[in-house]
Amino acid sequence: MSKKSTPGLNTSSMADISFLLLTFFLMTSSINTDMGIARRLPPPLPPNQEPPEVHERNIFIVKINSHDKLLYNGEYGRIEDLKARAKEFLENPENKPDLPEKIPTDIELLGTVDVSKGVISLQNDRGTSYDMYLQVQNELAAAINEMRNNMSQAKFGRSFADLNEAQKKAIEKAIPISVSEAEPTKVGGTN
């Protein structure tokens, strides 16, 4: 028996091959950076249906014009104030008569909580920039997130992000995202 060992494979080019593969994948792929704000659109209205009547105290109108200026309930306002205004409107801590009414509702895990009937109505112009629109959405989201966080701290002693699914559902029911969007106006230009 001749003990001839098989010659070893030359693997020095293996590194080159895998380098090539690595560069290929690096170039054709992208690390996921999809972040953003999730929203739900309302289903289309049946043509002959009147919009439901909303009591004046239950509505907070935010308008954005084509120069990205804001109007809160008819008064000129700044974006920095929006979060505080929205929070005050939705929480109505002192039960003021000109802020939205609250309805005590039984919600699982939370017991009876006051659910605000307030709706933030957002109206923009066709000439409003998307940037401004998103800033406004962001501020409203910030107000709602902060309220949810406060409630979950009070009820469960943890921040909203750390709650389990059922607890999250309960809080979402107690503090819904009540932002309604009106049809845009066409004052500011074409596109």
């Binding site: 992208s30 972040m35 953003g36 704000i37 309302p42 289903p43 066709r126 920039s129």
Partner: protein, 156 residues
């Protein structure tokens, strides 16, 4: 004269490259796992707005993208300089969105269809008129779950 050369020009010993490929393979697998394939190349310039309250987009396989922005310089001769919509890998009009949603919906199994999300990836300079038109089309097509792409940033 003794002609013995003392052999002391040893030089540095060569590095063992045997494990090099293993290391590179490890890197390769790492990148393969954490990345996703780029689905289509963009024809439009997009700089998404910044927000502080952004959240991650979940379930990437159930997301279809609508890109909105001004066509890139190379394509401006063909598509103009006004903001346009890109669906998959072609520039489209607002009226094409319904069909696009329909196709996306049919490519998923029935159980997943209510979970389909449409991500609007728009440039921050785009006017809301176009975005509103897109939203109206999506409403009409029954795609109610939408997502505004934004990057995480600090307040201005």
């Amino acid at each position: 004269m003794a002609k013995f050369k003392t052999k002391n020009d040893k030089g540095t010993p060569g590095l063992n490259m045997g494990s090099m490929s293993d290391i590179i393979f490890m890197l390769l697998f790492f990148f393969m796992v954490i990345t996703t394939m780029r689905e289509s190349s963009l024809f439009v310039k997009i700089v998404v707005p910044q927000g502080t309250e952004v959240s991650k987009l979940e379930k990437k396989s159930l997301v279809s993208y609508i890109n909105v922005g001004v066509p890139m310089n190379d394509f401006q001769a063909k598509y103009g300089t006004e903001p346009r919509i890109q669906l998959n890998d072609q520039i489209a009009d607002v009226s094409d969105i319904k069909e696009f949603v329909e196709i996306e919906r049919n490519s998923h199994v029935e159980a997943d269809r209510p979970l389909l999300t449409t991500a609007i990836k728009a440039d921050k300079g785009v006017k809301m008129g176009l975005i509103s038109d897109i939203k109206q089309e999506l409403r009409g097509a029954g795609a109610f779950k939408i997502f505004y792409n934004a990057s995480k940033g600090t307040k201005k």
